[in-house]
Structure formats: structure tokens, C-alpha cells
Amino acid sequence: MADEPNDAHSRPLDKARHLKYWTRCLRSPLPHHYTPNDSNRIALAYFILSAIDLLHLSDPNSENDPKVRDSTLRLTPAERHRFRTWILSCQHAGGGFCGSPSMTLPSHSYGGWSFEDSKPTMGNPGQANIAATVFALILLALLADDETEACSAYSGVDRWKTLRWLRRLQRPDGSFGEILEEVEGKGLVIGGGKDMRYCYLAAMLRWMLRGDIQPGEPGWVEDIDVEGLVRYIGRSQTYDHGIAESSEHEPHSGYAYCAISALSLLDRPLDGGQHPHAALKTALPDMSSVVQWLVSRQFPYTDPEDPDNSEDEALQQTFTTLTISEPGNPVAFNGRCNKAADTCYCWWVCGALSVLPPLQPDGDNVATIIPRPEARRFILEKVQHIIGGFSKHPGGPPDLYHSYLGLAALATMGEPSLKEFDAALAVTSETAKKLVAARTGLISRTKKAGQPEGLGGKLLDMGVQVAGGKRPAWLEAL
């Protein structure tokens, strides 16, 4: 089997075509089919801008295709500014971000709003959402022109309130919800069900905003229950060594990625340096069993003979076809055992493998155990669409989600014409550096200001000063 991603069997990635697809997504309104995504428009924005980021090499002159070199998708400073303003307008008065303008209230509606004493009452149509918060923070950093500019990317972000809000999203069992909402007759409810995605987003948010502020220093916010989260994730491994949102459910590639990345982010060094992977080793001591479950998600793809019976290609496989399949034939991934091929699982599986500590010294895990040329063939030959973008299943229409995750999968397989990718953060390494710069800038301003960011924190500090300048223990426990 060939090891080079660019083997003769496969065509090159037609970046110009994909850029055309993303141009449409960025510059004209999305069709009404996206109405069910209206509450999560920041997530759609993340797919669009991250894909554009991934497709553009940092140096335009290193692009071979003139259409890519002259792409009009490189954002102008005015555009960056406008997008930034829009994202900040989705920030919630109680910390965190709402998913779209339809989830954001006119600013006067938030007058006197306070999470600390739940005033005025909280149930309202404009609530912050954990996914929107993470994607908003990624976008703010991504929109900075370079690392220097990224230092001020988080000015205007209420770090203190957001981290306090994050703590409230954690349940006693260590897991996280997506929203905090007051429900009649029940009081404050952590909404969103048990879902490994929220645990991942919580770990991400903590890594993006918390920084190295020590207790007693200005801007310090009590941490989430990290041990509880690690324990919760560890207990989500199932009898067949996959990961679900609980060991009592069926394991799922998406949840496996979220669990592994959450663990990896919990002790990821703040700005580079050796990753101890301690949380991963604690929660999943038998890492090789997880690897086995992950590699079991790939199977040789054959076009279904009867299009009406396309569900579960794996099901059609007899053992004979499995073994005699020609090397070089497309290899697809599924999300669960015996399920159908789906573009996004190429990413969830390869992404999860990339985040795990190296299986071989200095090795790239995906290169070590995934047949990259064949996996690449599935993406480029089976789900790549003529108008650009990728579809979920072969023959389907492209959509933002699968189009971005298809690119992300290619990037983790080392696609040379894409930017380097940071699998745990699901952004380019360039944007990961901006995230670090944005946090560093925010933390240093917080320390310099001598008080927490945000009005709530400032008021609290004023109160403390009036009362003699000592922060009582009960205040920290809030």
C-alpha cells in the first residue's frame, strides 16, 4: 500500500472549486433548508470561516492554482471588523454567547440582569449556549489578521462572567449541559441532556479563557470540577471499548472524539510545551482498546448496487469481498458498528486518533494506522460534490457541516495543500496560535487592570473594598 497521500489513484484536491462553494456560503444568504440551524448560526459561521482559513495557505504565493492565489475570499480588514462586531453582539449579559441574533435580545431587555442573584427572572428567549460560546471565541481569534492583532481579540469578552457561567453548567456527576434556564416549577435547569459534546466544549472553553491566574490574584475564577469531568468521561467507556455519553449507551465516533479531545484539553499546556496527557491516561488507562474500537470504524467502501438499499454498506459485505478488495479501493468510516459510511466520521475517527498520544515515538497516529490514500479516495471520489463541498453520503447534496469536516479529515491525513490542523481544537494550527495569543492578551490585561473583567466583577470588587478589602471565603464559594 502506498504511503504518500498523493498517490496516482486519486485526483488532487480542487481547492478553487471548494473556495467557490465557501464564497457562496459567506457572501450570500444560506438557503431556507438551513432554517433548523437558525439557533446556531455562530456554528455555521465557524464552519464557513474555518474552512476558508484551512483552504488558504498563509503565503498566497505558495498556491499553484492562480484561482486560489487570487481568491477574493481573503477577508478585508473592514469585513473582519464587521464580523467581529456581529459576533460580539451575540454576547449574553450573563456571560457566554447566544447562537444567533434570534437568540439575542435587544440590549435594554438585559437591564439589571444578574446571574448572581437571578434578577430579573431568567427564563427568556436569549440564553447563552456553550457551543455558540466556543465558536464565537474561536471566530474572534480567527478574525485577527495575525498573532499580534490576536492579542486584543478578546477585548470586549466578559471572561469572568463566562467562566462563572461555565461552572454553573456542570452537573454533580461531572458532565456539562448546553444552557442554563429557569423553568417554571423547577427553578434553574441545566438544559441539554447528557452529551459528550458539551463536555468537550467545556474543556475547550476552560482552556481558551482560564489562563494561569492563581487564587487571590485579580480575575481569578474558581475552576470547574476537573476531576469530576475526568471521572465522568472515563466511566463512559462501553463494554466494547468505544465511548458513548454513558457506558449504558451505544458507543459513537463523535462522542469518542469529544471525550478524547476533552481529556486532552484539560491538561494541555497553555502555550505549547510537552503535553503530559495525564487526564487521558487516568480516564482511559487502556488506550489501545480505544484505538481498536476507532480503527474498527473503517471498512472498504463499495457502491451500493441498489440505490434504494444504500443503508449500511457494511451489511452488504460478505467476508470474501472484504478480503479480496483491491488495495487502493476507497475506505470509508462509520460512526457505530455496522452503520453506513458518512463523511463526518472520517473526521471524528481520524481526529480522535490524532489527539491521542503518539502510538509510536514521534509518529503521526493517522499515518501509522489509517490507510490514507484509500480513505482520501472515499472523500474525494465518493462524496466530493461538483459544486464544491462534501455531502454526508455518496450522491447527496453538500452541506456546511460535512463540507468542513471533510476538509478537516483531509487535513488530519496530512493533505499538503491545506494548512496544518490542530485536531483537539478543530482549527488550523495558525488559528490555535491566535487562540493562545488572544488568551494571553486577555489575561495580561486582567492582571494589569487589577480587577476582574466585566462590570459584575468590578462591582463585586468595589463591594469588597468598601467592606474592608478582604475577600471573604463565602464569596469565593459562590
Partner: protein, 531 residues
């Protein structure tokens, strides 16, 4: 300006005035458009001006007509008349009267374009045929009548709200349900008329008398928006009323219906579900009714997870009211299982449904309820499709998490001494039987391994069974492998026994021949053996 004497002298010379209206205007042809008709009417009342236009200027008129035209102009204008002497004025009037011109004239003399306005498509109404125009006028009249009736309704409802007495009957004004329905019907008609006449559309909430008085909280769209969606007007309107209702914390039947509408348009809206729950809770509505409603929504939105989270909340809310009544509990469990079976028939591996199902088993304690219905039901699904991994996972949960025969808090990957040996045996046997049906199906292999670990058994216990699927290993000619999963398990069995060489052979053959797409993985595993 004409000299006074001369102008007046002229009519005297023209002794034979011919009434221009009768001679110069032929009887009008049937007008084809409204503009035509307007023109004809204007000409009919301004015969001299029409004659001037036709002739192409005053100087081309016949002398008699020219004189009449000028005199008529003098007669119309007091300023001009004042310049004439008394006698000349008398002559003037006589001359004009003899011509018996129409009494009225209208300005403008020549119809300008677009005096009738445009319709919703931008077409000049003047280009309508008279019939079309009549129909349009009729609709406008109808709209006006409806508007009057609608205002009357509003006034009447306001009186009813304030408890005002009817001056005629002396009774307090009441607005009956059918009057509201009539008003709703009226507004629907008004909306249709407005749309037809002017292209103006009022949303269904703005039309609905039930929603009068609620000011929708519109979306503040702004420049620089990312991922803007071209959503239907219906959605934008419903959302703006939802926002208004949530801010008012209104818990009422109409807001319950509103949440249903929004959910149908956008089931992934992340706060509408909790709002709906608040309404149910505040109005103290029966949970079974809501669950019944939810069934329909779930069937039409198979991939949505908020629906299942909502159901989860409903069950948590409902459970305490039936917890102490075993019959009610059993009946609820049965109706839930029936619905879950129905939805799983359509989508056998639906993740949300299976997750909810395991929550329900634990919540209602359905482990052995109804003669182990849960295990039997899953067994039937595996009979239908032995590759349904969701069903396999659920079976593992039902068997190994039953509090009667398991230790709480033991991880799924750890042995549990509380599980009776006969159950371990039964499950091993079950998995083996299913493996025979389809040896390359990974689900029962995973299950088998999971059961062995749960029972604290050695993998070697099934070596004989696994051997049935792997013959003459390492012999190029006669090697026969019926399942790569068997070969994988065999590698583990050898490794467990400390036979590294045989384990390595299994892994090598997997990569080389029996499962080449995982070549890199098997080689890595082989490398791990040596470590």
C-alpha cells in the same frame, strides 16, 4: 394680450356658430382601457380643447371654432373678462351660450400617465380594461367594508373587556367565541385582499385576533452578519412572537400552540423546549397528553435530539405521580415501549431513541418487568437484524446493569462478581449462536468479549469456539479464516497465554491477508507484543 375692441368685434362677424361638440366629436368607440375611458370623458366635457388637440393648435382651427374657443376662454376667466367692456361681455356670453358648451370642465385637460396609480406588480391601473377595473374597485370596497366590521369588532371587544353595558339591551357586552372566529375569518379575507390589491402581506399572527396587543420582538438584523439564512417569513414572524411571549413569561394555551408552531419550523431551537415545559408546568397540563403530542413530532423529526431531552424531562416530572402505583407504572412502561418499538421499526438504530430507552428502563425499573419484556423485545430486534449493534448494546445494558444482579458503579469494562454465573453462561451461549449466523459480524464478537470480561472469565475459555473459524493458521495453502474478528480474538487469547509468537502470527496474517485495510493497525499491535 388682444386689444379690447377687436376681440369682441370678432364674434359679430362669425354669425353662424356651429356647436362643436356635435360636429367635431364622432360618437366615442368603446374604451379598451381605463385611460382610454378617462380620455374620452375628458374630451366629452372639453370639446374645444379636444378640437384644438386634434387640429394641432389654435391656428389650425376653423375661424368660427377659433373664435368660440377664445371666447370660451374669456368666459371662463374673470380676470380676462374684466378687461372687456360691458357690451363686449354681453356679446361674449351670448356667443358662448349659443354654442351650448358643457357646463363642467375638468383639469388636466390631457390625461397624464399613471393617474390611477399602480397595482402590486407595478402595472399602471390605467391600462386595466374597464371590467378589470370594476373588479378591482369591488375588491377595494369589500376591503373597506371588512375594515369597518373589523374596527367594530375591536371596539366591541374593548367594551367587553371593560364590562360596558349595551345601551339598547342594558346587558354587559360579551364577545362570543364564534365572533372571534368570524373576525379571524375576516382578517384572513382582508389579508388575501391586501395581498391581491397591494401585494402587502400580514403574517398569520398579526392577523389573528387572539394575538392582538402582543408587540412582536423583531429580530435586529444588522450589517456584517454571518451565515444569514433566507428563512421563510412565517418563521421570522413566529420567532418574533415567541420572543415577545417568553419575555412576558406568558404561560397560556396560545403560547403553547405558538411553541408547537416554532418547534415544527425549527425543532433545534434550544430554548423553546424549556419554555414549552414551563408552560405545561404552569398550566398543570397532563403529561400523557403531551407525550402523545410528542410522539407525532418525534416520528416526523427522527434525527432531532431536543425532542428526546424534552421527553426525558417530562418523564422525570411525571414519574413521582405514578411511582407508588405499580399498575400505573407498568401501564406507562408498556405504552412507552409500544411507541419506542413503533419508532424503532422505522429507524432501527436511532441513537436518541436507544439512549432514551435505556434511561427509561432505569427510571421505571423495567429490568424484569412484564416477564422480562425489555430483553425479549431487544432479542426480537436482533432476530430481525443480527447486525443491529444498537440492539446488542441495549441488551448488554439490560442484562448487566440490572441492580438485582450487578454491582452499582462497576465500569462496563470491569468484571462484576455480582452477576450470576448462569447469566454469564446464557449470554456467552447467546453470542456464540449469533456468531454462527454471520461470522464476520463484529457485534456479537464484541458482545462475547464483553461478557467474558464481566464474568471475570479468561478469554481462553472460548479458544475452542474461536478455533472453529480459523483453520491451519500460517499454512499458505490451507489457511482458512471465516472471520477476521475470530483471528483478532485468537491473537488476544495467545497473548493472554503468553504465546507471543502465535499472537504475532495471527496479527501478521490479519494485516497481510484477512483484514488488509487495517494493515497499519495490525502491524502496530504486533509491535506492541514485543514491547
Amino acid at each position: 394680450m388682444p386689444p379690447k375692441g377687436k376681440t369682441v368685434a370678432k364674434p359679430k362677424e362669425a354669425e353662424k356658430p356651429t356647436p362643436p361638440s356635435t360636429t367635431t366629436t364622432s360618437s366615442p368607440t368603446q374604451p379598451t382601457t381605463v385611460n382610454d375611458r378617462t380620455k374620452q370623458r375628458i374630451e366629452a366635457i372639453n370639446p374645444l380643447s379636444a378640437a384644438v388637440t386634434r387640429a394641432g393648435g389654435i391656428s389650425h382651427l376653423a375661424p368660427a371654432e377659433r373664435t368660440l374657443y377664445i371666447n370660451a376662454r374669456f368666459a371662463q376667466s374673470p380676470t380676462l373678462r374684466a378687461k372687456l367692456g360691458t357690451k363686449a361681455q354681453r356679446d361674449l356670453w351670448r356667443h358662448v351660450n349659443e354654442a351650448s358648451l358643457p357646463v363642467r370642465t375638468l383639469l388636466p385637460v390631457i390625461p397624464k400617465t399613471n393617474i390611477w396609480g399602480s397595482d402590486k406588480t407595478g402595472r399602471d391601473v390605467g391600462t386595466y380594461s374597464p371590467e378589470e377595473f370594476a373588479a378591482r374597485s369591488q375588491r377595494r370596497n369589500r376591503l373597506t367594508c371588512l375594515l369597518v366590521a373589523s374596527r367594530a369588532f375591536e371596539a366591541r371587544r374593548e367594551r367587553a373587556r371593560r364590562g360596558v353595558k349595551d345601551p339598547v339591551t342594558g346587558e354587559v357586552v360579551m364577545v362570543a367565541e364564534n365572533e372571534v372566529d368570524q373576525e379571524r375569518e375576516r382578517r384572513r379575507e382582508m389579508d388575501a385582499l391586501r395581498r391581491e390589491l397591494y401585494g402587502v402581506k400580514t403574517g398569520s399572527y398579526a392577523q389573528d385576533p387572539e394575538w392582538d396587543g402582543v408587540v412582536p420582538v423583531e429580530l435586529g438584523e444588522q450589517e456584517g452578519e454571518l451565515a444569514a439564512i433566507a428563512y421563510p417569513e412565517e418563521y421570522a414572524e413566529a420567532i418574533s412572537y415567541l420572543r415577545a411571549s417568553m419575555l412576558r413569561k406568558e404561560y397560556s394555551p396560545r403560547t403553547l400552540r405558538l411553541t408547537e408552531h416554532v418547534i415544527k419550523l425549527n425543532p433545534a431551537h434550544y430554548t423553546v423546549w424549556l419554555y414549552r415545559f414551563s408552560i405545561l408546568s404552569a398550566l398543570n397540563l397532563p403529561i400523557p397528553g403531551e407525550i402523545n403530542w410528542l410522539n407525532g413530532i418525534a416520528l416526523s423529526n427522527l434525527k432531532n435530539y431536543q425532542i428526546w431531552h424534552h421527553r426525558h424531562l417530562l418523564v422525570d416530572h411525571y414519574y413521582p405521580t405514578i411511582a407508588s402505583d405499580p399498575a400505573a407504572l407498568a401501564s406507562f412502561a408498556a405504552s412507552e415501549t409500544d411507541f419506542l418499538s413503533e419508532i424503532l421499526e422505522r429507524d432501527t438504530k436511532n441513537y436518541h431513541v436507544w439512549s432514551y430507552r435505556s434511561f427509561l428502563v432505569r427510571k421505571l425499573g423495567m429490568w424484569k418487568m412484564d416477564n422480562e419484556r425489555e430483553r425479549r423485545s431487544v432479542e426480537a430486534m436482533i432476530e430481525d437484524d443480527v447486525r443491529n449493534n444498537s440492539a446488542w448494546s441495549h441488551r448488554f445494558f439490560v442484562v448487566f446493569n440490572d441492580p438485582e444482579q450487578s454491582t452499582p458503579d462497576v465500569a462496563a469494562t470491569e468484571p462484576d462478581p455480582a452477576v450470576p454465573g448462569d447469566i454469564i453462561e446464557r449470554e456467552i451461549q447467546y453470542a456464540r449462536n449469533k456468531i454462527y449466523l454471520a461470522p464476520q459480524n463484529q457485534s456479537p464478537w464484541n458482545y462475547l468479549r464483553g461478557v467474558l470480561v464481566k464474568g471475570g472469565r479468561k478469554l481462553a475459555e472460548v479458544e475452542g469456539f474461536v478455533g472453529e473459524f480459523v483453520k491451519n493458521l500460517g499454512d499458505d495453502e490451507k489457511e482458512e479464516v471465516r472471520s477476521s474478528h475470530a483471528l483478532d480474538l485468537l491473537a488476544e487469547i495467545y497473548a493472554e497465554k503468553g504465546d507471543r509468537e502465535m499472537a504475532a502470527t495471527c496479527l501478521k496474517r490479519l494485516g497481510e491477508k484477512w483484514d488488509p485495510i487495517r494493515y497499519g493497525y495490525w502491524e502496530w499491535r504486533r509491535g506492541m507484543l514485543e514491547a
